[in-house]
Structure formats: structure tokens, C-alpha cells
């Protein structure tokens, strides 16, 4: 594959559609499973996928390599859009609970080798997630996949808000530790 993600984004700023196609091919296989996992419905996930990459094309000039990797830039956007949508759905229908149950299930299995660029770091992160105390993993998954806020998590788990906040902080400290660049 030619060009780093950051280089592709630079070319996209210059209006290079070919670079966008390569950018899509590289990152859609990473982002789509996440969106699908959050939204469950393939039609909704397709909408959000398109929205996310459209915004990436339009907002490419706003990408700053000093502030994070292209992957973090795109995944953060994808999560935000998917979770915005799921929260809107939940507001419309109190019965929309499937993702909550799914999020409460055990940590998802490793998807295998069909996703591009599986680095050691990422395997380590998955391992780190699996190694978290289950109470910490639970709050991360409720927020990450079901889009619950800390207050909603506290209500759902019938735990004090302070406990939930501490769990989130500790879990993220651990996950950051694992991916922190060694430079």
C-alpha cells in the first residue's frame, strides 16, 4: 500500500480523489465493523460510514498529525457519529435496548486476520482490555459500544457515580499505557 495515512490526507486536502479512494480502502475495514457493532442495523451503519468519510474528505484540512494518528482521527469521528445516532434512537424509543444487552456480554472475540495492518500494539490493547478487571471493562464497553454516559452507567449498574468515574479513569490509564509511543 502506498503512502501513509497522513500523506493520503494531505493529498485529499489538495483535492486528490485517488488518494481518497485509497484512504477509504485502508480505513473503511477498520471503521465499519465498529459502527456496525455500535448500531447493529446494517443500513444505519452504512449511512454513518458514508457520513464519516464524507466529513473526512471535507474536513481533511483540519487534520493535524501532531494531535493524533489518522486512525484516531477517523475512529473518534466514527464513534461520535454512531453514538449520536444511537442516542437519538434511544430518545425516540425507550425500548431500544439491544445494544445495551450486547455491550453487557463478554468481551468480543478477536476478529482474526482479515483486517489490514494488525500491529503488535493493537493486539496488546485487545489483550489489555481482556486483562482489565471485569468491573472496569464493563464500564468501558457500556460507554464505547452502547454510548452510555457516566451517569447512565451508574444508574444502570446501580453504582455510585464516583465509582464509575474512577473505573473509567483507571481503565483508560491502563489502555493508554499500552499504546503510548515509546519515542
Amino acid at each position: 500500500m502506498t503512502g501513509s495515512g497522513a500523506e493520503l490526507i494531505r493529498q485529499m486536502v489538495a483535492g486528490d480523489r485517488e488518494a481518497f479512494a485509497r484512504f477509504y480502502d485502508r480505513y473503511a475495514p477498520l471503521v465499519f465493523p465498529l459502527i456496525q457493532r455500535i448500531l447493529r442495523e446494517r443500513a444505519d451503519a452504512s449511512d454513518v460510514l458514508q457520513e464519516v468519510f464524507w466529513e473526512a474528505w471535507q474536513g481533511a484540512a483540519g487534520y493535524d498529525p501532531a494531535r493524533g494518528s489518522p486512525e484516531a482521527w477517523l475512529v473518534t469521528r466514527a464513534r461520535t457519529r454512531a453514538i449520536d445516532r444511537i442516542r437519538a434512537m434511544r430518545r425516540r424509543s425507550e425500548t431500544f435496548v439491544a445494544p445495551l444487552h450486547d455491550a453487557l456480554a463478554a468481551a468480543p472475540a478477536d476478529p482474526g486476520g482479515d483486517v489490514a495492518e494488525r500491529t503488535e500494539d493493537r493486539r496488546t490493547v485487545q489483550h489489555a482490555l481482556a486483562q482489565l478487571p471485569s468491573a472496569q471493562r464493563e464500564v468501558i464497553e457500556l460507554a464505547y459500544y452502547a454510548g452510555l454516559t457516566q451517569t447512565e452507567i451508574a444508574e444502570r449498574l446501580k453504582q455510585p457515580l464516583g465509582t464509575v468515574k474512577t473505573r473509567i479513569r483507571l481503565a483508560l490509564e491502563r489502555l493508554r499505557e499500552v499504546v503510548r509511543p515509546t519515542t
Binding site: G15, A28, R37, L49, V75, V125, A143, K165, L172
Partner: protein, 264 residues
């Protein structure tokens, strides 16, 4: 000040799990460009991005790529430089909006605390106090809605931020309008003294022809105001925003002194 509480807020923020007043508080803190939180957030986003790999595999629908490529081909690629330039002014204005939200939240907390104490004193006052509290909250919610709509507007590349400077009687006043030609926008004012009795401030939009009235607004005791500005009929462009002092209730054409105006 001890930074540790912000470390906790930063983790929940990165995860998208922060809500309520803490979200407001943390965004105000971020608006002060805290370097420590910037690092925490950057590392958290990287870690959370890596977690995406733990989602069960799913193949992206091929029609999405096709749709995107046709959409891109249909749009002339000339918009980029303008977008870049507009971006520079956003963090400042977002910070100011966030700070204003915090101020509103603190006012709300104070008002709530005050009334809660009275509730304890006399059961008789319970109902009336609750109703007042609800009205205060409704007013604060309206204010919050104004800031939210401003934040939404800021995401649109066609949105401009126009600065208004104090003139004549109120040189220390400042204002800005977050303005979208077809959607309208929000006016924010600071340091504008409350108007004399039976007078009010009125906003004007000036484009082609005579100034158009854009509503009267109230200034609070601290000299602040927020005011929703409707788009001009037919989405016509606005060159200048101006505020004048007018008889109470407002007038169809400006008569009083100009207290705030944007540059031409």
C-alpha cells in the same frame, strides 16, 4: 489548583461518557488549552481507536464507496482554503461560548442552592419556590439551547463569526454574531450597560437598502446578552450588524444612538 479532578474528567470525556455540568466544566477547562489534558486526550483517543479492532469483523458495503466517489466528483474541489481560514477563529469563540455556559451553570447552581435552603425553612413556601426554581431552570435551558445552536452553527463551513465593537456611549462593550446567511445565528454581547428606563437595545441587519430590525434583547446585570437572529428574508446577505438604543418595544427603523456595530 489541583489538576487531578481534570484527569478523571478527561478519561470520561475521551470516552464520550462525560455529561451534565461536568461536561461543561471540562470543556471550559479545555478552552484554556491545558497541555496536560491535551496529552491525556490524545493518548486516550489513540487507545480507544485501537480498541475498534476488537469489534466483530464486518465488510463495508461496496455501494458506500461508490456513493462517496460520485458525491466527491460532483463537488468542485475549491472549498478547502476557505475552510482552513475559517477554522482559526473557532477555538476562541467556542471557548468563550463554553465559558458562558459554565457561568450559566454556576448561576443555576447558586439559584438552586438558595431556593433549596428556603425549602428546608418553611414547608408553606414549598410549592411557590419549586415553581420559581423551575422557571429559572427553564430560562437557563433556553440559554443553553442558544449556546448549543451556536455550537451547531460553528460546524457549518458557511458560518461566519462577526465581531461588534462598542461605540459612543458604551466603548467597552463587545459583541459577536455567529452568522449563517440562510439559517440565521446568535448574537452574544458583553459589557453592555443595562439600558436607561423605558429604553431597550435593538439589533439591525444592514445589507442592501435600509437597516432591517432584527429584534430587541435584554441585557443582564453583568452586561451580557444572547439573542437569536433570524435570517434575512430570502437569505439575502448581511454586511453590517448594529445595535442601537431605542424606545421600549423597539421601532421599525433606527432612531437612537448606535452602541455596537461590526466593521463594514
Amino acid at each position: 489548583m489541583n489538576h487531578e479532578p481534570f484527569d478523571t474528567l478527561a478519561a470520561a470525556y475521551a470516552l464520550g461518557a462525560l455529561d451534565g455540568e461536568e461536561l461543561v466544566e471540562f470543556e471550559a477547562h479545555l478552552a484554556q488549552e491545558c497541555a496536560r489534558c491535551a496529552v491525556t486526550l490524545r493518548e486516550s483517543y489513540e487507545a480507544l481507536a485501537a480498541l475498534a479492532r476488537s469489534a466483530p469483523p464486518a465488510v463495508p458495503p461496496p455501494e458506500v464507496k461508490q456513493a462517496l466517489l460520485s458525491r466527491i466528483a460532483a463537488v468542485a474541489p475549491t472549498a478547502s482554503p476557505r475552510r482552513e481560514r475559517g477554522r482559526g477563529s473557532l477555538p476562541w469563540i467556542a471557548g468563550a461560548a463554553a465559558a458562558a455556559i459554565v457561568a450559566a451553570a454556576f448561576t443555576g447552581a447558586f439559584v438552586a442552592g438558595h431556593y433549596e435552603a428556603r425549602l428546608g425553612q418553611t414547608a408553606r413556601e414549598l410549592t411557590a419556590t419549586r415553581q420559581r426554581l423551575e422557571r429559572e431552570i427553564a430560562a437557563l435551558n433556553d440559554q443553553l439551547a442558544a449556546y448549543r445552536s451556536a455550537a451547531d452553527l460553528l460546524r457549518d463551513p458557511a458560518t461566519r463569526v462577526v465581531t461588534l465593537r462598542g461605540l459612543g456611549p458604551s466603548p467597552g462593550a463587545t459583541g459577536w454574531v455567529i452568522w449563517h446567511q440562510t439559517v440565521g445565528g446568535q448574537l452574544f454581547v458583553a459589557n453592555l450597560p443595562p439600558p436607561p428606563p423605558s429604553k431597550t437595545y435593538e439589533l439591525w441587519t444592514i445589507g442592501e437598502g435600509a437597516p432591517r430590525p432584527a429584534g430587541v434583547f435584554r441585557v443582564d446585570a453583568e452586561g451580557r446578552a444572547t439573542h437569536r437572529v433570524e435570517p434575512v428574508e430570502g437569505g439575502k446577505p448581511v454586511k453590517v450588524f448594529a445595535v442601537t438604543l431605542e424606545p421600549e418595544g423597539g421601532v421599525p427603523a433606527p432612531t437612537g444612538p448606535m452602541v455596537l456595530a461590526s466593521a463594514k
